[in-house]
């Protein structure tokens, strides 16, 4: 998992373009989106986990799993499939 830059848009704030270090690549399709909410009762130092996750197909053919931490608003590249 590594930090990644993402541009979003649309009514669902889906990723439109991703920069994982090699320049901006357009998102060709959002194939799935899901949400993870775990441990709402957690207190410091642990944190509740609230994140949105997207599986996207990029215009260069890659398939990535991206996640957005809803608390910190940070995007992370969770998985590069293939």
């Amino acid at each position: 998992m590594s930090p990644v830059a993402v541009r979003t848009g649309g009514p669902l704030e889906d990723p439109l373009a991703v920069n994982a270090g090699g320049g901006w690549v357009e998102v060709a399709a959002v194939v799935e989106r899901w949400r993870v909410e775990v441990g709402w009762w957690r207190t410091e130092p642990e944190c509740p986990v609230q994140r949105g996750c997207w599986r996207v197909l990029l215009s260069d053919g890659r398939c990535l799993d991206l996640r957005l931490d809803l608390a910190s608003r940070r995007w992370t590249l969770e998985r590069n499939w293939g």
Partner: protein, 414 residues
């Protein structure tokens, strides 16, 4: 070959070989409750096999012997003749090996034969499975059941449903349907998992197959994936083929000859280490070892029992020997028996009745216990050299659903 290239396995099930031997020795015991005991892990006495009338009373192979006696007080109690058992096992394996090169001897109650590749133009898989059954039946002298399916569990289940002396086929693509009514208690999964399944109301394979694999995984972890595959007949179809093991032994030529038995004993430790290494290369333990002392160094070696210039003896301890420590004691006892009529030029130590080492049988799914210890020692040395945090073992946190990948695993450095 089946139509879409999937595997087809035959499972042959038969009474435990120890029971077969007991019935051969005592034909009058057929139909009676019989318990056959033997040595289990750590040398304790366990139940090796029980006849059907005894099984009904709740005894189970692997149980402590005392417990089995309590559950079935009126049963006839016999001790397994391990040498005869090994001989019958070898006979049966060789008989099946004549039918197919891909035979796995699962335990002393079942065997698997890979039928994938049976040319439908020449012989259907049913007759081929039946011919394997006939060969083994002839070797054992007892009726057995044969099941054919696309995976190990479906083939085994089909064999359970087959009458003795008959073959039951699970048609291509019908494994899930065939397994639908099987109770989850028949699945090769931990009893705790069975209990939880029943609590969830999942009592049959069909019930489990109606749940998605992901949901089963969320509840049961990796057992859930296995459960899903088993219930659909999609578990492994791989055979671990048995081959007649190559001879295993060490030979030492003594320059000048030795005529003193005590002097020979000094070489026992080195012989034991050498044989232990040979056994480790094959991943086997010796049920029996033979020591041969020859008065002449010669390349053409007649069988030891025919040549008067050769002294030899054997020992078969209760527990198979795999390590140098385990071999040394019995080897010293053999040297102690040696009677030398001439100076010894050649010492040979042979391992016979090769078996999977007992510790490995217990942790079969986890790889050989002895190998893991060796790897752990290597890891310890790496940590001493480079510091902790280089080599890790990881396990899935029990009960974690997997939604948060970074919390799903427990990392251990040593």
């Amino acid at each position: 070959m089946s139509k879409n290239g999937r595997a087809r396995l035959a499972c042959l099930t038969f009474p435990h070989l120890a029971l077969v031997l007991a019935w051969r020795a005592h034909p009058e015991l057929q139909g009676e409750p019989v318990l056959v005991g033997g040595n289990g892990p750590g040398g304790r006495q366990v139940l090796l096999a029980a006849s059907p009338p005894a099984l009904v009373l709740g005894v189970r192979p692997g149980q402590d012997w005392r417990r089995a006696e309590i559950l079935c007080p009126l049963a006839v109690r016999l001790q397994a003749d391990l040498a005869a058992l090994a001989g019958l096992r070898r006979t049966a394996r060789l008989a099946l090996a004549g039918c197919s090169p891909l035979v796995e001897w699962s335990d002393d109650t079942s065997a698997y034969v890979d039928l994938t590749g049976t040319d439908p133009r020449r012989q259907q898989e049913g007759p081929r499975a039946a011919s394997c059954g006939r060969v083994l039946q002839e070797a054992l002298g007892v009726p057995l059941s044969v099941g054919v399916g696309p995976s190990r569990f479906s083939a085994w289940a089909a064999a359970q449903r087959a009458e003795p002396g008959r073959v039951r086929l699970v048609p291509e693509g019908k494994a899930a349907e065939f397994l639908a009514t099987w109770p989850v208690s028949a699945l090769p999964i931990p009893p705790e998992t069975v209990e939880r399944l029943v609590q969830f109301g999942l009592r049959t394979c069909g019930d489990c197959a109606s749940i998605t694999m992901v949901d089963l995984q969320r509840q049961f972890g990796s057992d859930g994936i296995l459960l899903y595959r088993l219930c659909l007949g999609l578990d492994s179809a791989r055979i671990d083929p048995w081959h007649e093991p190559p001879p295993c032994g060490v030979r030492r030529v003594l320059a000048g000859g030795v005529d003193d038995a005590e002097s020979l004993r000094f070489g026992a430790a080195e012989l034991a280490r050498g044989l232990a290494w040979e056994l480790s290369q094959q991943g086997r333990a010796a049920g029996r070892i033979r020591l041969i002392l020859r008065g002449e160094e010669e390349e053409s070696r007649p069988p030891a029992h025919l040549d008067p210039r050769i002294w030899w003896s054997e020992v078969a301890p209760p527990i198979p020997m795999a390590t140098a420590d385990e071999l040394l004691g019995p080897l010293l006892s053999l040297f102690g028996r040696a009677r030398l009529s001439t100076a010894v030029m050649v010492v040979e130590l042979e391992a016979l009745d090769l078996v999977v080492p007992p510790a490995s049988q217990v942790s079969l799914w986890q790889g050989r216990a002895a190998d893991r210890e060796v790897i752990q020692l290597a890891v310890n040395r790496l940590h001493d050299r480079f510091g902790r945090g280089l080599v890790w073992r990881v396990e899935v946190r029990p009960g974690h659903p997997g939604d948060v990948p970074e919390e799903r695993l427990i990392w251990r450095s040593r």
